[in-house]
Amino acid sequence: MMLQILLAISAALFALGLLAALTRRNAIMVLIGIELMLGAGNLNFISFWKFSAHPETITGVMFAIFSIAIAAAEAAVGLAIVIQVHRRLHSVDVNEANQLKG
Amino acid sequence: MSASSSNFFSGTADAGALEVSLGPHHPSTHGVFRMNVRMEGETVVKLQPVFGYLHRNHEKIAEKNSWLAAMPYTDRLDYICSGTNNWAYAVAVEKLAGIEVPERAEYLRVIVGEMTRLQNHTAFLGFILGDMGAWGSALMYAFREREKILDLFEELTGARMMLNYARFGGVRCDTPAGWLDKARAYLATYPAFLDEMEQFLTGNEILLSRLQGVGVLSAQRAINGGLSGPVLRASGVDYDIRKVDGYSIYPRLKFRVPRGEVGDCFDRFMLRLLEARESLKILQQALDQIPEGPVVNPAVKQRGFKPPAGEAYGRIEGPKGELGFHLVSNGTEKPYRYHVRPPSLINLTLLEEMCLGTKIADVMVILGSIDIVLGEVDR
């Protein structure tokens, strides 16, 4: 029963992240949406580890730690790209950046 | 200086530029002085000094009053060194009227003048550290020593800063009993303070990195800008009016004139320290050789003083630079034209050139290193 509530919460968080990524026009909000989705994934890892039969093999926890590190690196690179896009096109509107040239 | 800042800000504000108006009500400008600074990020791109907030119409007042009445107003020109202001005005009037000054008066003038230079350089050491954010501990040490000189002035002339001491052809009053010994005793302790200040500051890495290489001024540029005083000598130009004109009894006294090589804020800072040591040497010699005799030329009538018609320009080496008075007399009781050459204002004209390309924190240090006093800049 408790595990189902936890999974429901992380599913909701994932859906909100997806909503942000899909509907918002500003590139930064898309990145925020991705961060939320990654957070939801971590929540799932930890909850399954919490209710696993023998929790001393802490694979779930290790997975969460590594995914946090990767998410940080991804956020850094993503935002650097956003700044460069802004410098080129003077706007961060996702629809604008539709040409691959230059 | 037209304070029209409208054209300054109307420039197109491109992305990074940030216009900031530092002052007139600002913690570290020495008095009411404003700078419109345009910055890209932290570096200064354009700087327009705006002053005139302390203009009291000093020269017109002097032309309305009698010759003697202008003397107390010269105290308020550069209110930190009123001793040298009075002296410069007296020298100019004596050159205009051809008055002789007795020996003891010359010695007293040199003693008060060099003491004024000493306390001005001491105050400067304190101010520049306050600008860099040293929380005033060095400022308090400097003011502790300066207080003792001001106490000596109070015993001699009656006021700590507004001395009103020089008169045409001499000085107003003789030294009270025991004053010379007290002065000798105090000046004997002064080198210990300068050593403490030197040990306290010149080795300090943070201070070195904040002062060295900042606000560099080449000797040629300083001469063209008409600079004078420690700022000029810091850029390597050997020009000290005490040696050039040899006025008063300076040719008799043995002292040296330091000058720097690079001409940045650190050189100006060290110049003041070295000049303070030279002033100490002068004071020791003057205090030993002072003769007895009258303190003012009895032939001169102070009240209703009417110099012959004519024109004269008298100048001395003030702590901030060449302080000169240009006086025109038409034989009446009131000066026809009375003009002051303010060293602070003329040293200030090169401020923007020194500040371009530096950081906002450096602008404060460069302004501090020129050592301006707004009373003299605005008159």
Partner: protein
Amino acid sequence: MNFPGSGIIKGMAVTALNIVGSYFDRAHAKRLITEQYPEERPKLAEASRSFPFLVFDGDDPEKGIRCVACKICEKECPPQCIYIVKDTDANGKPIMRPKVFDIDISVCMGCQICVESCPFESIRMDNIYEVSGYDRFAPLVLHKPQLLKSNAYYHGIRPTEAAATDARIEAARLRKEAAAKAAAAKVAAAKAAAAAKAAGEKAAETKPTQPE
């Protein structure tokens, strides 16, 4: 030894010396020079000046006032902050005493030119420094009664200068007396001479009438 960071340590040593010094230097000699103002009053130097005051001899201010209202100080004062009105006696003839003598101490800058230009040694510099008031104009104009202070007070604040002034006044008085005596003697001598001459002529007159 100037390894990196040694300058900072030397600077810290100076401040440490000051911190420790301030606790063990009770005699205020070198370091802790703050005066706790309301409790410790500042010891003013004898020559220190703030605002002028009028001197009067003896103990009655009105009779002993030295000022003769000659208005030289009013003319000489650079910021023109002295205002004098001459006194008139019963039937309107002006007499040599000020009826009104105001000094606006918010304008006065204590430059002591009035003391130098006063030929009658009647105005001197005081060293009071607590003259603030609760209004901008009225309390800052000192009228004659507030300005008048006795010569004894003057001796109190400036012993040497007061003694020198009294000596000068004494010498001037003696010189005047001597001059007066000399003048009186001269007048007496002139009268005597005149009398002698008159006596001589009378004698001559009487003598010529006898020989006819």
